[in-house]
């Protein structure tokens, strides 16, 4: 019964979206306030209906209602409760429902908190948002309906893919979708602005918090996914340049570019048409990502529901929205004349450079991702594009970005003298150079990766510190530090996020340059040495888990005879799917991780044991968290809270809750 209500609510939500996509648009065009006002209650109702529908599906998973096709295919009565709930979005249909739930959530947030927007801009943005929702409601209802019943319910379900039975599933997809789908707001605002025919500083100020929020969520989502892959897949890779990962990375790059170009529009009223284009493309890449993940045209390790019919549907959605928006852009871009002038050396031109690098980096990732497909279709060459390509073709742009970032961050607006910024940054540069030389001298190999990573990391982190100190003016150190805490949060956000990127780059370079591994057969009781550590395989025994059987090893990790920790790597077999998984045991430390995996029992006695020493791995995710934190600090800056609408004008209405 609840299932049918959920299904019905979903259909009603689709109809509401249809109304919301049409009526306010006509209203905004004809300047009819009542027609425009339809958007706000409709957005609220749409969200509540979708939320109810999603709750109904979650309920079906929680009570293991196997008469529902989706539940019987993806769940099992013995599964722990956490995975019954998170299993709701651990499959194609459920995750699509989560996708639109978040889409409608953003629409509702705009309706409820966008009180200070001009009514016609708001009505148009909400209408565009609803049009996207319409397309995806149709996609769910016609190709991926989660509410289909089975005539003969099975006795038990087929279970969830064991790789997905991890707390990571509970957090990674929701964050990722909040980011992906959040970019729809930038898109809706961009299209609404094109329809309005004007883009100004105020527009940039409205659109920037939404983009920033989406970018923060995307950052956290990608970092969580990468960490999940690191501990779950059994050999400690953190990024595979897999099409599905690239699908989330491309919107991230463009969203980062958009954040920066929106600052230029906000402060200086230039780069308007470029910013609009970025807003359209950023969401376009979200849609491309959805297509890549769900169509199966490009093979990926993250196999999802692959169905050509669904792929075609998403491709049509993509074509309609991107085609429509870009046509509109081509017709209207000339209206958006730039206002400000700036010198060749200025913050503006530095931010242009930032955008050039991020956009080209995104293009490289895009071409690399689709090249196997293009090559096979056009040139009849079946080939692969893997990590070696991306490492080579993508990295130079990030190195350049890292090099200019501290300088760009300190160059004044309009017509700057770069000399002043360079003078202040000189100590950071010298320190970074000195540490690079030290590392170069210390390491045995001739790899450039480590030294360059150290240089960039130190340069970017210290550069951010110099940036924040430079804002405190003159005076004694104590008075400057006192002033430092009273700086606007946006300044802190910028410094923290920039420093975070430095931390991540350093972590990646350190891990790739100095990783050590060891593969061997160890007998019980045997001690062996890996790098500076001794490991002892104490015991191996079988343990019964809630829905799996595990082979658990006791490994003692010690250094110079002192015990550091006891590690318990596991190998699990899930009888329902017959699939094995590895659960690596990781000793996380500030400077390095020790990562131990237990393998099979060997015919001659003993077990395969794999040990990796991974320096600075945590820095990768710590840096990502710092970037997200920096974004959050910026988002909480007073000027956005003011702009986010405490004001109630005659045109804004009480939310329909």
């Amino acid at each position: 019964m609840i299932t049918e209500l959920g299904h019905f609510a979903l259909i009603l939500a689709a109809l509401t979206a249809l109304v919301q996509a049409i009526i306010p648009l006509i209203g905004a065009h004809k300047q009819w306030p009542r027609w425009m006002a339809v958007a706000e209650p409709a957005a609220g109702i749409q969200f509540l209906l979708t939320a109810f529908s999603f709750a109904a599906l979650t309920y079906a998973f929680v009570v293991s209602d196997f008469s529902l096709r989706l539940v019987s295919l993806n769940s099992h009565s013995l599964k722990p409760m956490l995975y019954k709930i998170s299993g709701t979005w651990g499959n194609h249909e459920g995750s699509m429902l989560l996708w639109v739930l978040i889409l409608t959530l953003f629409g509702a947030m705009l309706a409820w908190f966008g009180g200070n927007l001009p009514p016609s801009l708001k009505a148009r943005a909400l209408a565009v948002q609803a049009a996207i929702a319409c397309a995806f409601f149709a996609f769910i209802l016609f190709t991926s309906n989660p509410f289909l019943r089975l005539a003969v319910p099975p006795f038990d379900g087929e279970g969830l893919n064991p790789l997905l039975q991890d707390p990571g599933l509970a957090f990674h997809p929701p964050f990722l979708y909040l980011g992906y789908v959040g970019l729809s707001m930038a898109f809706s605002f961009a299209v609404a602005a094109l329809l309005e025919g004007r883009v100004d500083a105020a527009w940039a100020r409205w659109v920037r918090p939404w983009t920033l929020a989406a970018w923060i969520f995307l950052t956290i989502g990608i970092a969580l996914g990468s960490w999940w892959a690191y501990y779950e897949l059994g050999w400690g890779g953190f990024w595979f340049w897999d099409p599905v990962e690239n699908a989330s990375f491309m919107p991230w790059l463009l969203a980062a570019a958009l954040l920066h170009s929106a600052i230029v529009v906000e402060k200086r009223e230039v780069l308007k048409s470029w910013t609009i284009l970025l807003a359209i493309l950023a969401f376009g890449f979200s849609l491309i990502g959805t297509f890549i993940v769900r169509s199966g045209v490009i093979t990926s390790v993250h196999a999802f529901a692959n169905d050509p019919e669904r792929g075609v549907f998403i491709l049509v959605i993509l074509a309609v929205f991107m085609g429509g928006a870009l046509t509109l852009f081509a017709a209207r871009a000339s209206v958006m004349e730039a206002k400000g002038l700036f010198g060749v050396v200025s913050r503006e031109s530095m931010l242009v450079m930032n955008n050039v690098l991020l956009a080209v980096a995104c293009l490289v990732v895009f071409v690399g991702t689709i090249w196997p497909l293009v090559s096979e279709l056009l040139f009849d060459r079946k080939l692969s594009v893997g990590p070696p390509f991306f490492n080579l073709a993508f990295t130079p742009f990030m190195v350049l970005l890292g090099l200019i970032m501290p300088i760009g961050a300190m160059t004044p607006w309009k017509r700057g003298k770069i000399y002043n910024a360079l003078r202040q940054l000189l100590p950071a540069f010298v320190l970074a150079l000195a540490l690079m030389g030290l590392v170069w001298a210390m390491q045995s190999g001739r790899s450039l990766l480590g030294p360059v990573g150290v240089f960039l990391g130190v340069w970017m982190i210290c550069g951010s510190a110099v940036d924040i100190m430079s804002k405190t003016g003159r005076g004694t150190m104590t008075s400057r530090i006192g002033r430092m805490w009273r700086l606007p949060r946006a300044d802190w956000g910028k410094a923290v996020a920039h420093g975070g990127l430095g931390v991540t780059i350093f972590g990646i370079a350190g891990l790739m340059a100095w990783e050590q591994d060891d593969i061997r057969v160890a007998r019980i009781g045997q001690t062996f040495t890996v790098g500076a550590y001794e490991l002892t395989l104490n015991d191996v025994k079988d343990v019964q888990g809630p829905n799996y059987i595990a082979t658990t090893a006791d490994v003692v990790l010690s250094q110079n005879g002192e015990v550091i920790s006891l590690l318990r790597p596991e190998k699990r077999v899930y009888p329902v799917s017959g699939m094995p998984t590895t659960e690596a045991a990781i000793d996380y430390r500030f400077l390095r991780d020790v990562y131990v995996v237990i393998g099979d029992a060997q015919a001659g006695g003993g077990y395969t044991v794999r040990t990796y020493i991974k320096p600075f791995t945590n820095w990768i995710w710590a840096g990502a968290l710092l970037m997200a934190l920096g974004g959050a600090l910026s988002l909480s800056d007073r000027r956005y809270r003011v702009a986010a609408g405490a004001r109630n004008t005659a045109t804004s209405r009480v939310p329909a809750e």
């Binding site: 100004d200 500083a201 105020a202 100020r205 059994g234 050999w235 890779g237 595979f240 099409p243 230039v270 199966g296 093979t299 990926s300 390790v301 196999a303 004349e337 730039a338 206002k339 400000g340 002038l341 700036f342 010198g343 060749v344 200025s346 503006e348 242009v352 450079m353 050039v356 080209v360 293009l363 490289v364 071409v367 690399g368 090249w371 090559s375 040139f379 060459r381 079946k382 080939l383 692969s384 594009v385 893997g386 990590p387 070696p388 390509f389 080579l392 073709a393 130079p396 593969i519 061997r520 057969v521 017959g578 094995p580 393998g599 099979d600 060997q602 395969t608 794999r610 000027r639 003011v642």
Partner: protein, 150 residues
């Protein structure tokens, strides 16, 4: 077809990446084998190198690579040997010849073209750029200053 491949991967699963019995005694040779393995694709898997893959076929390829190295092949010779048998698809680092020029040159070419456009744009805005004269109406100006005030 995809499903079959997946099943193959799953069936072959309890073998985990590089096995101790595959490792060569000569550390220099083993290091070369590991480096080569990272550039070769496991053919039955989804986008994994044979160094990471658990499939039986990946194991065969790893052993093949090591056999060639023990025979005294140079790195390019090993790669050629594998490509001759399994095709270009096996390479995770695509060749740069022919149509793949497009792939490899996209980044640098796009960078210089975009940079050129950006330079032209910046120059125009820094010198004679026309001061646009779209003024806000007084009402909008008032709203804007109110918002900008903080």
């Amino acid at each position: 077809m995809m499903r079959l491949l997946l099943i193959l991967c799953v069936l072959a699963a309890p073998v985990w990446a590089v096995q101790p019995d595959e490792v060569l005694n000569d550390p220099a040779l083993e290091a070369r084998a590991r480096a080569l393995s990272k550039d070769l694709r496991c053919l039955v898997c989804r986008n994994e190198s044979i160094d990471e893959s658990n499939a039986e076929l990946a194991r065969d390829l790893r052993i093949l690579v090591r056999e060639r190295l023990v025979e005294g092949d140079s790195d390019p010779q090993v790669i050629d040997y594998v490509v001759a048998r399994y095709g270009e698809f096996v390479l995770l680092r695509p060749l740069s010849g022919g149509s793949n020029m497009v792939l490899w040159l996209t980044g640098p070419a796009a960078f210089f073209i975009v940079l050129l456009f950006a330079a032209i744009y910046v120059r125009r805005r820094s010198s004679t750029g026309s001061q646009a004269a779209i003024e806000l109406s007084s009402d909008e100006q008032k709203r804007l200053t109110e918002i900008l005030k903080d």
